[in-house]
């Protein structure tokens, strides 16, 4: 089972900054590479904050259009990732304020189709989707800051210091939120996900 370390699907924050610098200096290919990498990051940040897949898609498009249209004037040496994070967070907050879409359509459940079959076994696909649905529902119950820190540190493999720089809070606050998120989420996982081995004498 894959455990921890950097999530290979996501570039580091420094890599995002380098892509932004190259895109600013010109070239359609550089811009496309930036958009390809940044859009997934933005979508994920929005999704964790909003706990709603369709709203997260809308926010991602809104933010990326802004990035594409302003990248040519992006000042050299500026930190791209924290700026991108703030823009995403503000867009997500606006969406929440406006009420977003119907909450019962396109929530975390919409993500379940993306959970692949390990080894192509249909029974495992079902188990994977069922699990993702269960854990997704539990994650949605956490406060947004705990969800956010849990994703950035636990799932994406960033350090507390990196997360602190990204979202503009102290590293100690990041660690505090992470511990609360782990405790809340794992206790519920262990309580609601019965395991056969648990019943062994």
């Amino acid at each position: 089972m894959a455990v921890e370390g950097r999530d290979p699907a996501f570039p580091g924050l420094a890599a995002l900054g380098e892509l932004a610098d190259r895109a600013r200096d010109g070239g359609d290919e550089a811009l496309e590479r930036l958009v390809s990498a940044a859009a997934r990051v933005v979508r994920r940040w929005a999704l964790v904050r909003l706990a709603h897949a369709a709203d997260a898609d809308d926010v991602m498009q809104e933010v990326m259009i802004r990035v594409i249209r302003s990248i040519e004037t992006w000042p050299a040496g500026e930190s791209f990732a924290p700026w991108l994070y703030v823009v995403t967070r503000n867009a997500a907050t606006d969406r929440l304020r406006r009420g977003g879409r119907q909450r019962d359509v396109g929530g975390f459940d919409a993500l379940l189709d993306q959970v692949p079959a390990p080894g192509g076994d249909p029974s495992l696909v079902f188990a994977g989707r069922e699990l993702a649905g269960l854990v997704g529902a539990l994650l949605r119950e956490l406060p947004p800051r705990q969800r956010e820190v849990f994703d950035l540190v636990e799932l994406q493999g960033m350090t507390a210091k990196e997360v602190a720089q990204l979202i503009g809070i102290r590293a100690s606050s990041v660690r505090g939120s992470l511990l609360k998120a782990r405790r809340n989420l794992r206790r519920r996982i262990l309580a609601t996900w019965p395991d056969v081995e648990e019943d062994l004498p």
Partner: protein, 157 residues
Amino acid sequence: MTACGVWVKRLVMASPEEFSGMVETKLSRHVRDCPRCAAKARRILSANEALRVAISGPEVDAAGLIERAHHAGADETATGRKRWPTVPKLVWSAMAAASVTAAALIVVPLLRTPVLEPLSPHVRPQPLVDAIDYNLVVMPTRNPDITILWYYKETEQ
């Protein structure tokens, strides 16, 4: 609390590296030796993995996004023009000339107004007040309505 109670508490708070076997810790040794705690650890790690996959989302159509951004920019420019209807150059010139004339009509009379207006005939001059122990110099000005009265003491000279 069962024998594993303490370990479960630690399991719930620990970093996954501490019980996944990636690093050797007391917790990882216990998880290796205890089937119950090993099952719990597997559940936690499986949940993390399921979430990681679900939240990652699919690849994004970067080219499509770029095209949409350019279209959005073009639409906005077009909308911006509609907000400001185009005015023929001749009309602009006439409006500018009218503005200059209006400004001249307002400003020129102001410039011609003397700084000190003559006293109105309705305003009665105030009676002079005696200033004991002061000398007085009377200085007439070109304006017949204005006379400067300079009071001074001997010691000021």
